[in-house]
Symmetry: C2
Subunit: 709 residues, 2 copies
C-alpha cells in the first residue's frame, strides 16, 4: 500500500500546510463576520463586514473565563439510580457557553439546525455559537439565525472565502484555536451529526476537571477501528488504544495557543503522512496521532457525552438507561438506518428535534436577562404598542411577525452568470406541492421558490422531492423554507424572500398556480436582450395571463393554439368572470394581433405577471392573507416609472384549484375586508410620502373598496 499511499499523502500534507496558512493569515485576527444587532463597537482587525446586518462584537459578558468545578462522575440525569456526590460549586448561573461547529453545504446546514434545536431545547445558559462555514452554509445560517431571534443566543458565522478549500472542511477543527477570537479561552466543538439529550452546561462543567496540563477533552472511540485489526493490512493512524472520537470536543483554546498547537499537529500530521495513507484523512486521525505522542494533553470524557451509533458500536456498554444518555452521535454512514439495539429510541429523539417547531425555542431564559438584539427589540416594541382590542390586531401582529427563514433548504447549483437570464419567482404552501413537477416541465430555467411550512412539513417536503425523479434531477431550483407562524398567509413576505434569493439579473414574478408556455424561458431571455431591459430601458415585461376552468386540459404549445382555445371557450383571460379589471389593461384584443411588444398604461387594480430586473421594488409585506398584494407592487413599479410592455408571444395559464385553506378562512370575513382597507390607506400614505404629487393618481384607485378578497 505504501507506494500508492505516498504521493497522495504528500499532496495531503501540502494541503494541510495550506490550511494552516489560512488559519494563521485569515484567522490571524478575529475573522468572524459577526451577526448581531447592536451597533459596531470593538470591530476587530481583519474581520469581514456582514452583508445582512450591522456588525457587533463580543459584549461584556463573561466568556468562558470563570473556572468551574463540576464533577463528571455525578451523573445527575440518572434520577433513578444516581448516588449523591460530594458537594461541588455549581456552574455560575447565566454563564455564557461557547460552541463551535464546522458546517459546509446545504445538507450539513439542515443537520446543524437539528443539532442546534436539541441544544436549545435543554439549555439554561446563554450561548455563543461560532459557526465556521463555506459560502453556501454562510448564506443559509446567517439568514436563519438572523430571523430565528432566539434570546440569549449569539450566532457568529465565519467563512473561508475560497471555495477551493471546501474539501478540507473536515480538517477545519484543527485550526479553531487560531481561527476563533484570541480572547476565547474555552469552547465546545461539535460535529453536525450529534444530537443532545441533556443540558450542554453539564458538558461545559467538565472543563473543571482538566488538570493544568490537559487541553483537549474527548470521548473514547466506541469501535475497534484504531486497534488496527479489522482486516488484514488494516493500517489505521496511530492512536492511544481505541483512540478518541472527535464528534464532541472540549478545547482549552488558551492553553492550546500557548502550547503552539498549530506547530504541534502539523509536525505530527506531516510526519505520519509520509508513511500512512491519507484516504481517510480527517481531523480525527490527526487529533489521535498528536494525543498518542502527547497523552498528557487529553482529558478523557465520560462516554455518555458521545454515544457513537455505528453498526459495530460498543456504545451499548456505555449506558444502562435513557437518562444516562447525554449526546448521541450518528457517525455511521447509514445515519438513522443504522442497526443498534436501541436505535428506535435514538431515532425518536432525533425525530423529535428534526420536526420540532423551532419557533418554540424563542423563549427567554429565566433570570438571565439578555439584551434583545436591535431587530428583536424593535419588533417587541411594535408588538407591545398594538391594541389588543383593535379589530385588526391579528393582522397587525402578522405584519410584524419575523418568520424564521431557511434559504436553499435543498442542494442547489447557482446558475452560471448570463447577462439576460431570468429566474421564475413564486411562493407556495404544502397544498400546492403537486404543482412543482409540472412547473419544472414548463420552465427549464432557474427558479426561486419560497415555501411556507412547519418544521415537520419541511421534512415531508424533503421526502417529496427525494421521491420525485423530476424534482431531484433539477439543480437550478432553489427552495427557501419560511417557517409558519401566525394565522395569515404572509404572501408578500414570501415573495420577497424568493425575490431576494434570485441570482439572475432578471426575475419573472409568477404565482404557483400558473404554468408558463413551454417556450417562455427562452422567449423571455431573447426579449430581454432585444429590448435592452434594465440596462437602457426601465421596463416591466407583461406576460399575458389566461385561465382554464377545466381540470383536464391539453396545454397549448403556441399563441395560435391559445387563440383557438379562447375562441372555443376552453380558455379565458385570467379572472375574466370575476375580476376582469385585474388584467384588462393588458389589452387582450391588441395582443391577438400584436407581432411586437406594445406599451400599455397603468390603471387601477392592474396586477399583471411581469418580468423585471432583480433590483425591482420589494412587495409590501403588510399585505397578508389574500387581496391587493400584487396590485400594490405594480402600483409602485408605475410610480417608479417602469414602462409596461406586453410581450406578443408570451403567455401563462392558471390551472383551476379549490381555494386554499388560507384563503377560505378569511374570504367571508368582514373584518378581513376592513383591515385590508386599513392597509391600503397606510400604503397610500407611504406612496404619497415617497413619490409626492405623482402618487395622487393612485388615491382614486385606493378609495374604491371593490376588490374581491
Amino acid at each position: 500500500m505504501l507506494p500508492r499511499g505516498r504521493p497522495r499523502a504528500l499532496g495531503a500534507a501540502a494541503l494541510l500546510l495550506l490550511l494552516l496558512l489560512i488559519g494563521f493569515f485569515l484567522f490571524g485576527g478575529d475573522v468572524e463576520c459577526e451577526l448581531g444587532e447592536r451597533g459596531g463597537e470593538r470591530r476587530g482587525p481583519g474581520s469581514f463586514p456582514c452583508p445582512l446586518t450591522p456588525r457587533v462584537s463580543a459584549d461584556g459578558r463573561p466568556r468562558g473565563a470563570a473556572a468551574v468545578d463540576g464533577d463528571p462522575s455525578a451523573d445527575r440525569g440518572g434520577r433513578n439510580r444516581s448516588d449523591c456526590v460530594p458537594p461541588r460549586p455549581p456552574l455560575p448561573k447565566c454563564e455564557l457557553l461557547h460552541v463551535a461547529i464546522v458546517c459546509a453545504g446545504h445538507n450539513s446546514s439542515r443537520d446543524l439546525v437539528t443539532l442546534v434545536k436539541s441544544v436549545l431545547f435543554y439549555r439554561k445558559n446563554p450561548l455563543h455559537f461560532h459557526l465556521v462555514t463555506d459560502a453556501m452554509a454562510r448564506n443559509i445560517l446567517e439568514m436563519l439565525f438572523h430571523t430565528w431571534m432566539v434570546p440569549a443566543v449569539r450566532p457568529q458565522v465565519s467563512w473561508i472565502p475560497n471555495k477551493h478549500y471546501s474539501g478540507l472542511y473536515g480538517l477545519m477543527k484543527l485550526v479553531l484555536p487560531a481561527a476563533l477570537p484570541p480572547e476565547l479561552a474555552r469552547v465546545i466543538v461539535l460535529d453536525t451529526d450529534v444530537t443532545f439529550a441533556s443540558d450542554i452546561a453539564e458538558l461545559w462543567a467538565l472543563f473543571a476537571h482538566f488538570s493544568d496540563e490537559q487541553v483537549i477533552g474527548l470521548v473514547e472511540n466506541q469501535s475497534d477501528w484504531y486497534l488496527g485489526n479489522l482486516w488484514r493490512n488494516h493500517r489505521p493512524w496511530p492512536a492511544l488504544g481505541r483512540g478518541f472520537n472527535t464528534g464532541v470536543i472540549l478545547l482549552r483554546l488558551d492553553r492550546l495557543r500557548q502550547a503552539g498547537w498549530g506547530q504541534m499537529w502539523t509536525l505530527t500530521a506531516t510526519r505520519e503522512l509520509l508513511t500512512l495513507p491519507a484516504t481517510s484523512l480527517a481531523d480525527q486521525d490527526i487529533f489521535n496521532a498528536v494525543i498518542k505522542e502527547h497523552p498528557g494533553l487529553v482529558q478523557p470524557l465520560p462516554c455518555v457525552w458521545n454515544v457513537q451509533l455505528s453498526d459495530h458500536t460498543l456504545a451499548e456498554r456505555c449506558y444502562s438507561e435513557a437518562s444516562d444518555l447525554k449526546v448521541i452521535h450518528w457517525n455511521s454512514p447509514k445515519k438513522l438506518r443504522v442497526k443498534n439495539k436501541h436505535v428506535e429510541y435514538f431515532r425518536n429523539l432525533y425525530l423529535t428535534f428534526l420536526e420540532y417547531d423551532g419557533n418554540l425555542l424563542r423563549r427567554e431564559l429565566f433570570g438571565c436577562p439578555s439584551p434583545p438584539s436591535a431587530g428583536a427589540e424593535q419588533v417587541q416594541r411594535a408588538l407591545a404598542q398594538l391594541d389588543e382590542e383593535d379589530a385588526c390586531f391579528e393582522f397587525r401582529q402578522q405584519w410584524l411577525t419575523v418568520h424564521r427563514v431557511h434559504v436553499t433548504f435543498l442542494p442547489h447549483e447557482p446558475p452560471p452568470p448570463q447577462p439576460h437570464d431570468v429566474t421564475l419567482v413564486a411562493q407556495l404552501s404544502m397544498d400546492r406541492l403537486q404543482m412543482l413537477e409540472a412547473l419544472c416541465r414548463h420552465w427549464p430555467g432557474p427558479m426561486s421558490l419560497a415555501l411556507y411550512l412547519t418544521d415537520a412539513e419541511a421534512q415531508q417536503f424533503l421526502r417529496f422531492v427525494e421521491a420525485s425523479a423530476v424534482l431531484s434531477a433539477r439543480q437550478n431550483v432553489a427552495y427557501h423554507v419560511v417557517y409558519r407562524e401566525g394565522p395569515l398567509y404572509p404572501v408578500n413576505r414570501l415573495r420577497n424572500v424568493a425575490l431576494a434569493q434570485a441570482l439572475t439579473p432578471y426575475v419573472f414574478l409568477s404565482d404557483i398556480d400558473f404554468l408558463p408556455a413551454y417556450s417562455l424561458y427562452n422567449d423571455l431571455r431573447a426579449s430581454i436582450e432585444q429590448l435592452k431591459l434594465g440596462s437602457e430601458r426601465r421596463a416591466a415585461l407583461v406576460v399575458p395571463a389566461f385561465e382554464t376552468l377545466h381540470y383536464r386540459f391539453s396545454f397549448p404549445s403556441s399563441k395560435a393554439e391559445v387563440l383557438a382555445l379562447l375562441d372555443s371557450g376552453s380558455l379565458y383571460t385570467f379572472r375574466y368572470h370575476e375580476w376582469p379589471r385585474g388584467h384588462a389593461p393588458t389589452d387582450y384584443a391588441r395582443w391577438r394581433e400584436a407581432q411586437t411588444p406594445y406599451r400599455v398604461q397603468w390603471a387601477a387594480d392592474y396586477e399583471p405577471y411581469v418580468v423585471v430586473p432583480r433590483d425591482c421594488p420589494r412587495y409590501d409585506p403588510r399585505f397578508v392573507g389574500f387581496g391587493w398584494n400584487k396590485v400594490a407592487h405594480i402600483m409602485e413599479l408605475d410610480a417608479q416609472e417602469y414602462e409596461l410592455l406586453v410581450l406578443p408571444e408570451a403567455f401563462t395559464i392558471h390551472l383551476p384549484h379549490r381555494p386554499s385553506l388560507d384563503i377560505s378562512r378569511f374570504r367571508s370575513s368582514p373584518t378581513y375586508r376592513d383591515c385590508l382597507q386599513a392597509v391600503k390607506d397606510e400604503f397610500h400614505q407611504d406612496l404619497s410620502r415617497r413619490y409626492g404629487a405623482a402618487a395622487l393618481k393612485y388615491l382614486t384607485a385606493l378609495q374604491q373598496p371593490r376588490h374581491p378578497a
Copy 2:
C-alpha cells in the same frame, strides 16, 4: 347570602351522598374495565368486561409498595445551582408508578392526551394510568391507548355508567380511595390541565417524606382565594392559610382507607354545606375543609410541583429558573391566554407536547423489560418476519402498522336513535379540509369522518373547525383522528375507523370529494324504510355517481337537472373517460328512465357508492395507497349475497381536484402496481377460504391487472 345559598347547599349535599353511594356500591370491588392484552387471570369481582379487548389484571410487578426515601429539597433538575444533598437510597429502578386522572367529555380527553404526552416524554418508569371517565371519554380513551401501544404503560379506563352524574366529575377525586383497586397503596392524582416538565418519578419519590400520619401530599394554593379577602362578603370554604391546590395530589390510599376517609370527607362536607354556598363546589373545597380540621393529614409539597398559572398567581415566587419547574397547572379559565410574566415559556412547553408526534413516545424503556401487550407482540412478530429486501416491504410494513386513533376528537352529539337513520362515512387528509363546509351543506344528517393527520395537523384542524361557522354549528358530525404513520395512505383502515364509529343503523359509504344531492339524506331514509333494508332484505343501495370536470359548477337540484347537464356535456358519469368499468354495472341508461329501484348484477371492477346496514363487512386494510380498495369491498358484499339495488332519484357528484400528495407519489411507481397485484392475490385466497367455490367467479376479476392506480 345565606338564604339564597341554603337550598342549593342542601341539594349539593344530597348529590354528595349519592356520589358516596356510587363510590361504595359501584366501586366496592374493582370496577375497572381493564384494558390490556394478556389473558384474563385474576379478574376482580364487580368488574366490567371491556368491549374492545380481553381483560387483564395487575401483574406481578411491584405496585407502589416499596418504601422510597427521596429528598424533596434535592432539586436535581436545577443543574446550575443545586447543591449536593445527603445520600439517599434511590427509587428502585423500573418501579411501577400509578397515576389516576378523572376525565369527562371530548375536550378533557384532548387535554388528557397532552398531559400524558408530557408525562411520557420525561418518564423513565413503567406507568399504570387509572382513568376515571364518563361514557364519552371512555370510548375515546380506550381506543386511544389500545392503539397507542406505548411499551411499559398500562391504561385502565373506569367509567361511571350513568350520565346523570357527569356534572359531578369534579368531585370524583374524593372517591378514588374507594374506586381504585383495593390493593393499590399509593397514587398520583392529576388534573387534565397540568403539563409535566420533569420526570414523574421525582414526584413519586416524595411519598418517602410522608410521616406515619400523613396521607395526602399537596402544593399550597398560589392565590389568595381562601384568605377570604378578595371582595366584600367573599366567603370561601375553610382552609389552612392559603389552602392547597388539588391539581396534583399524592394519595396514600392504604392509609386513607384505614382512616375512614369516606366518612371523614362526607361529614365535613355535609356540615359545611349547611352554612356555605355550593356554587363553586369542587373537590378542592372539600379537601381543604378536611385538612383544616385534620392538619396532620397533609404533607405540603414543594411549590414547583404545581405551578399555578391564574391571573393573580403568586407562582412567580416559586421558581427562579426553568429547571425549577416540574409541573405547570393551567388553572385559569383563560388557559393559554392567561397573563403571566413567563407565560410565553409555559405556553411553548405546552405547545411542545400539544403538537408532539405521539408515535415517538412508543419507545421502550431501557433496562425495564416490559412484556409487550398481546396486540403489540403480534404486530412486532409480524414486522420481524418481513423481508427487508422484498420490493413490497414498505407496503407490507404499512399494512401492519397500528395507527393511533383518537375517535370523536371534537364535541359530538350522538344522533337520537331512529330505525332508518343513515350516517355518511368518509375519510380525508389535510388537503381536503376545504370540502367539509360544502359537504355539511349537502348532507344535514350524521357523518362519521376519519381524518389522517399528524398531531400538529390535528390542532390546525381544530382551529379550522372553530373558525368555521358552518362546521362549529354541526353537532352530528363525528371527526376521528387517525395519526399519520408510514408513507402510504391507509385508506381502508381509515374507512373502517369511520364505519366502526357510525351510530345509526345504516351507513352511506362515500368519498370526501363527492357532494351528494341536497335531498339525498331524506331520500335515503325513505328508501331504507320502504325497501325494508336490513330487516327483511340484505341489500346495498347504489347511489349513482357522476363527475364534473368544471371547477365552477352549479349543483343540480333534481334528477331532471342531472339529465340535462349530462346531455349538455357539463356532467359525466363518474370516471367516464378513464375507467367506465368502475361504474358501468350501475347501468346509467336504465337509471335515466327508472322510476323505482332496480337490481343490478355484480361485475368485475364494480365500485359503486352504496348504503348498507352498519354491520356490513369491513374494508380490507391491506389495500393502502390507491387502487382497488373499494372494489374488494363490493366484491365481499356480493360474496355475502347483498342485492345491489340502484336508487332511481339518488345521485352524488365528484368535484375535480388535483391528485393528492399521497396519490401522486405512487402513481408512477411500477413497484406500486406489483405490490397491489400481490395484495389482490392474497385477498382472493382469503375470499376462497371464506366463501369456497362461490368465490371462484372473482378469480377472473383478480387476474386482470388492468386497473389504473
